[in-house]
Amino acid sequence: MISELFFMNGYGYYVLSSFLFTLFCFLGLYIITKSQLTKEKNKFIVKFGELNSEQVKEAKKQKIYKEIIATETFSKI
């Protein structure tokens, strides 16, 4: 049964290589996009940490700044 599934009447090599190529492309794109997102988040955290108290007050007026910091701690994606 399993050998039939992989052999596919002689087409297994073509079918499985197509599916594997697709999945590798998906995985590669996901990893690259995720690493870019993490890199930008980390850059933001460093920059935010360098602000003085006045600038932090000013920045925290915008909800989005707080959310970016929060997601750095909690987001698993």
């Binding site: 596919m8 087409y11 599916f19 190529f21 492309c25 997102l37 920045a59 987001s75």
Partner: protein
């Protein structure tokens, strides 16, 4: 920047997790249907299973490029920066899908036509689409000026859009190795439901993946803008 409302970041971040889980569930179901449950073709045998990755990839790459071209027109008409941000975030997944369509098509061509590649109208026009995606992505990397890069990328997307109907109708206009469409919206679909269902599921899975990448990329772009905002404080 004023156009980025606070709720956008929160919404995009929360939806990423939901889309990821949905994608994984539907992909698992789609793979089970495509590799195990769906029947083999009477003529092509099991090689027809390549269709379940090849066709959705081609459809989605065409759809994304059409959307990018529409957004580029909107950028020019309304001068709204959010449209080019969306178009820019869509491009990477569109490129990957066009590449997958080309490579899996080539793999499918070997057992079906006896060749990995032919300068056929459909295949060549699909290669041109892939090149347009590549030019779009490279333009974002090489040009520094924001106004200039917006104009260049919009021009590439609009120019590349001319190629979309050529891809769609190439099998009708010219005598090609590539078969005509089996799934039609306005005329009868010539594919059996036992193959149409897995095709639909795989298309849904691939669409969810492109949505996931778009959301992650869009979030990255929002943080990039906020990083620049911090420099100005």
């Amino acid at each position: 920047m004023k156009f980025i409302k606070n709720y956008q970041f929160s919404l995009v971040r929360k939806s990423q997790k939901i889309v990821l889980y949905l994608f994984l569930i539907i992909l698992t179901l789609g793979l089970f249907e495509a590799l195990i449950l769906s029947p083999e073709d009477y003529l092509q045998g099991d090689s027809v299973r390549i269709m379940y990755v090849h066709v959705p990839s081609a459809w989605i790459s065409l759809g994304i490029f059409s959307l990018m071209a529409t957004l580029s027109i909107l950028v020019i008409v309304f001068k709204n920066k959010i449209f080019f941000l969306i178009a820019k975030s869509l491009a990477p997944s569109g490129f990957i899908f066009s590449l997958v369509a080309l490579v899996t098509g080539s793999i499918w061509g070997k057992p079906t036509w006896g060749t990995w590649w032919a300068w056929d109208a459909r295949i060549t026009s699909m290669l041109i689409l892939c090149i347009f995606y590549l030019m779009y992505l490279i333009a974002w990397r090489i040009f520094e000026s924001k106004d200039y890069v917006t104009k260049i990328t919009s021009f590439i997307a609009i120019l590349g859009f001319i190629n979309i109907p050529i891809i769609k109708f190439s099998v009708d206009w010219w005598s090609t190795l590539h078969q005509p469409s089996s799934v039609n919206i306005f005329s009868e679909t010539t594919i059996h439901s036992t193959m149409l269902i897995p095709l639909g599921i795989m298309t849904a899975a691939f669409a969810l993946f492109s949505l996931l990448i778009f959301l992650m990329k869009y979030n990255t772009e929002l943080i990039k803008i906020k990083n620049k905002g911090l420099d100005r404080l």
